[in-house]
Symmetry: C2
DNA sequence: GCAATCCTGGACGTCTAATATCCAGGATCA
DNA sequence: TGATCCTGGATATTAGACGTCCAGGATTGC
C-alpha cells in the first residue's frame, strides 16, 4: 500500500478539527508533518476528485472536508488514494492450463479468486466500519488538548 | 500484491492431488500454466523455506507438500511469498509533527495505525481460516474429474 | 564411478509504479 | 492589479517486481 494513504488519513483527521468553513492550503498541510508539498498536493487532489475534500483557489483558500467526519470512512480515503482495484488481482492463469474452458470469467469463477476476494471483503468491511469521527473521538479521549493545539497550529501560530 | 501469490496457491493446490510421496520438478509445474520456469522456481523456493513445500534434488525429485492440505492455510502461502510485513506500514509521520513525544512507538500507539491494523487482522483471519483442503474440496465438488486429470497430466501423459 | 536430473542461491538485467519536482494556466480575493 | 492557491500535465528518480542465467551441490540410476 502506498504511503500516501497514511498522509491522507492524518491530513483528513487534522481537517476534522478546523472551524467550519475554514480551509488550509496544501503547503501548510505539508508543513505540519514536513512532507513534500507538491507531492502531498497530488494526494489532496485525489481526495478532492473523490469527493472527500473540497478545494477553493485564491487567498484564504485551500482544502476542507467535503462532508461530516461521520460520513467519511477509512475505506473512502483508501479507495481515493489506492484506486478501485483489489489487492489480489486474478491474472486467470487457469486460462493457460490444461482443461480450460473458453469464455469463462475466471475472475469470478475460480475458487482461488473467490477465496482471496472473501478476505479482501473482510478487510474492506472493517475499513468501511471506521469513520474519521471514530478516529477523532479516540484521539480526543486520549489527548483532550489535540483539537485545540491542531486548530491553533493551522490558525497560524507558528511552531 | 505480487502475482507470485496466485502462482503459489494454484501450484500448491495442484500438489494436493499428487500420489503420496510423489514430487514434481519446478519446470513441470511451470509448464502446467505456461509460467516462466526460472521465476516460478524462485517462488517455490520461498515456499520451501517457509516449510510449506519439501524439495528433493536429483532424478525423480522436485517439490511436494510438506504437510497435509488441512494444515496449510492461504495465510501461510501468502506470508511465504509476500513476506511478514503488513500492507499498511506506518511511517510514523506523527514524529515529524508538532507535539510529538520522543521515544513513543507510533507503530503501536497511533490511532490511525491501530485502525489500519484492525482491518489487516480481519483480512489475515479470513485467509488463515481457509485451507488448501477447503479449496480442494470446493473445486472437486464443482469438477469431480479435476483430481484425476491433474494427476494424469503430471504423471507425464503430455497435453 | 559416471552421467543425467534437479534444487540452491546469487548475480544480473529489465520494466513498471511509486515517489517527487516543476511549471504554465486559471480561479479567487484584497 | 498583484498576491494567493488550486489544477493538471510533463518530467525525473528510485525501489521493487519480474525475469534470466549460471555455477555449485545433492541425488538417482546405470
Amino acid at each position: 500500500m502506498s504511503e500516501g494513504v497514511e498522509w491522507a488519513i492524518h491530513s483528513c483527521l487534522n481537517l476534522t478539527w478546523l472551524e467550519p468553513g475554514e480551509a488550509v492550503p496544501a503547503a501548510r498541510m505539508a508543513a505540519f508533518y514536513e512532507l513534500p508539498p507538491a507531492y502531498l498536493n497530488k494526494q489532496l487532489q485525489a481526495l478532492a476528485r473523490a469527493g472527500i475534500l473540497t478545494s477553493t483557489p485564491g487567498p484564504r483558500g485551500g482544502f476542507r472536508l467535503a462532508r461530516r467526519p461521520e460520513d467519511i470512512s477509512l475505506m473512502d480515503v483508501v479507495a481515493a488514494i489506492e484506486g478501485p482495484d483489489e489487492a489480489f488481482r486474478c491474472e486467470e492463469i487457469l486460462r493457460q492450463g490444461p482443461g480450460e474452458h473458453e469464455g469463462v470469467d475466471y475472475r469470478r469463477r475460480c475458487v482461488v479468486s473467490q477465496a482471496m476476494r472473501r478476505a479482501e471483503m473482510a478487510w474492506r468491511a472493517e475499513l468501511a466500519g471506521q469513520t474519521l469521527a471514530d478516529i477523532r473521538a479516540t484521539v480526543e479521549r486520549r489527548n483532550p488538548s489535540a483539537p485545540g493545539e491542531t486548530r491553533a497550529w493551522f490558525a497560524n501560530l507558528r511552531t
